[in-house]
């Protein structure tokens, strides 16, 4: 489904990714672990088509991601849901509006928005807080809104960059359970994290990165650095 072939990424002559070869199949839950500067975020940026590889190629099915332009790039991005460590919710909009905004941007109808937003808020257990603004929500709740926003357009892949980085253990557990649930429903999930507990509790594929290279790729991995 997703393929990295001999991918190298350099910034001002410094290699942040060094000859990465990797494939992720439909329905997988993949954790990417590594110290800061190991290349996790650069890998994510290539997946989101925010950056282009210096060498090699990144493909989604048969399409080369970094060659996509205009509506083809927009269509590709509509197949991906993104969750960030800092939530990146729109502060002037309620939980409902934040999610509706992603659907509007993806060109969904008003009827779809009215049907799907309450449903997805229910999935992340926030139906009673749909009228709350981000500043009225806890960190865990904000992250659940961000996840709801990411999944509302029914993407093929969810990419989560350090989604539990700002959360306490209880909220971390809840968020991990949501990702597991999303994955159980057939969506591919890729997440980067530093959290040993998260990785060990999932028992899924773990890719370990060090200095821009993949040092381990375990099917039922543990956090080993």
């Amino acid at each position: 489904m997703l393929y990295f072939e001999n991918v190298t990424k350099e910034y001002a002559g410094v290699k942040v990714l060094d000859n990465i070869n990797l494939s992720i199949e439909k329905g997988e839950l993949v954790s990417i672990v590594g110290h800061s500067g190991a290349g996790k975020t650069s890998l994510i940026k290539l997946l989101l088509a925010e950056e282009k590889p210096t060498k090699g190629s990144v493909s989604f099915h048969s399409a080369t991601i970094h060659s996509l332009r205009g509506k083809y790039l927009n269509n590709y991005r509509r197949k991906i849901g993104v969750v960030f460590q800092d939530y990146r919710l729109l502060p002037g909009r309620t939980a409902y509006e934040n999610i509706a905004f992603a659907m509007e941007a993806a060109g969904k109808t008003d009827k779809d928005i009215r049907n799907d937003v309450p449903h997805v808020l229910d999935l992340v257990d926030l139906k009673d807080k749909m009228s709350h603004f981000p500043h009225q929500l806890s960190g865990g709740e904000k992250q659940r809104v961000a996840i709801a926003r990411a999944i509302v357009n029914r993407p093929e892949i969810i990419i989560a960059d350090e989604p539990t980085g700002n959360l306490d253990p209880v909220n971390t557990y809840d968020i991990v359970q949501i990702f597991k649930k999303i994955n159980d429903l057939g969506t591919t999930v890729i997440l980067t994290t530093h959290n040993k507990g998260v990785i060990d509790s999932m028992g899924k594929r773990v890719i370990t990165m060090e200095k821009g290279k993949i040092s381990r790729d375990d099917k039922n991995g543990k956090y080993i650095i």
Partner: protein, 305 residues
């Protein structure tokens, strides 16, 4: 249709949410539009004054005092054939004498000298007006052609065109100059306004950086991202135009009362009100172009990033 509706709603929402930036941008546009309106009105005053001067320009064709009635009629008939002619008025030698006496009624010495002559020393004349000031030189040239009046040429005393030729040329160059300077000033102020509104919008769009980033990541089209900013800019343009248009109604009324001494019956207020639709279209059109172009350039930078 749905996307357009959302873009319009979002544009209105952004306008309301960024009230400080909206008010600043509108204020800058009002200044520019006021300058543009002032240029339009100044030009109208200038053109009116020039028209007044032009209407007073004519050619006087003086005949010798002994010119016969037959010669006068023949010359008048010839003059009537001139294609550039608007009118030709005959002034008899008697009328000229009466006018002279009237003009110098307070000058006893001149009137005494006239009486000493004993006869009417003035000849009859024709006052010729052309359709266009540019045609005067052609009319004079035609009259001076020996074949035009033929044998009646001997009855011509003089043509007083050379004295006013330079005035006519000046008037023409002033009309052209006023037009050119108006266009140049308009373009300069539009560019200044474009730069200021662009920078204001650019700073405002920094607040939307995350929003634009999220829009891009969920695959929003360029129209969906740019659209609200362009709608917001249109709102700036329309509001700034409406304010300027309405503000100039009392302003022109006030100016009219204060310039009665210089402009006589010419009313700037009447000119403004009778051209308000035309002026409104210019103001609304130009302000929307300036505001939307500024927004377009400002948001384009973030779409690339």
């Amino acid at each position: 249709m749905q996307a357009i509706k959302r873009v319009i709603i979002q544009g209105g929402y952004s306008f309301y949410r960024n009230m400080t930036v909206s008010v600043s941008s509108i204020f800058i546009l009002i200044i520019t539009l006021s300058i543009v309106t002032s240029i339009i009105l100044t030009k109208s005053i200038f053109l009116h004054s020039l028209e007044e001067i032009k209407s007073k320009v004519d050619i006087s064709l003086y005949l010798k005092s002994d010119a016969s009635e037959e010669a006068v009629l023949a010359i008048k008939e010839k003059l009537s054939t001139l294609s550039a002619l608007q009118s030709v008025n005959y002034i008899s030698k008697e009328d000229t004498l009466i006018k002279f006496k009237n003009d110098y009624k307070d000058d006893a010495e001149t009137l005494e000298a006239l009486n000493e002559i004993g006869t009417n020393p003035f000849g009859p004349s024709f006052v010729i007006t052309a359709r266009d000031t540019n045609d005067y030189s052609d009319i004079v040239e035609t009259i001076n052609t020996p074949d035009f009046l033929g044998t009646y040429n001997d009855n011509i005393d003089k043509i007083n065109y050379t004295d006013i030729k330079s005035s006519i040329d000046k008037i023409n160059s002033m009309i052209k100059w006023s037009g050119d300077i108006g266009y140049v000033l308009t373009i300069i102020f539009m560019l200044i306004s474009l730069m200021i509104v662009y920078n204001t919008t650019r700073l405002a769009i920094l607040n939307f950086k995350d929003e634009i980033h999220i829009m891009k990541l969920v695959g929003a089209s360029d129209l969906f991202i740019k659209g609200p900013f362009l709608i917001e800019a249109c709102i700036y343009g329309v509001l700034a135009s409406l304010f300027t248009i309405l503000a100039f109604i009392p302003i022109t009324e006030y100016i009219t009362t204060k310039t009665f001494v210089f402009l006589g019956e010419y009313s700037l207020y009447d000119y403004y009100m009778s051209n308000i639709l035309h002026i409104s279209l210019i103001l609304i059109g130009s302000s929307i172009i300036v505001a939307t172009l500024s927004s377009f350039l400002a948001v384009r930078k973030h779409l690339r990033g």
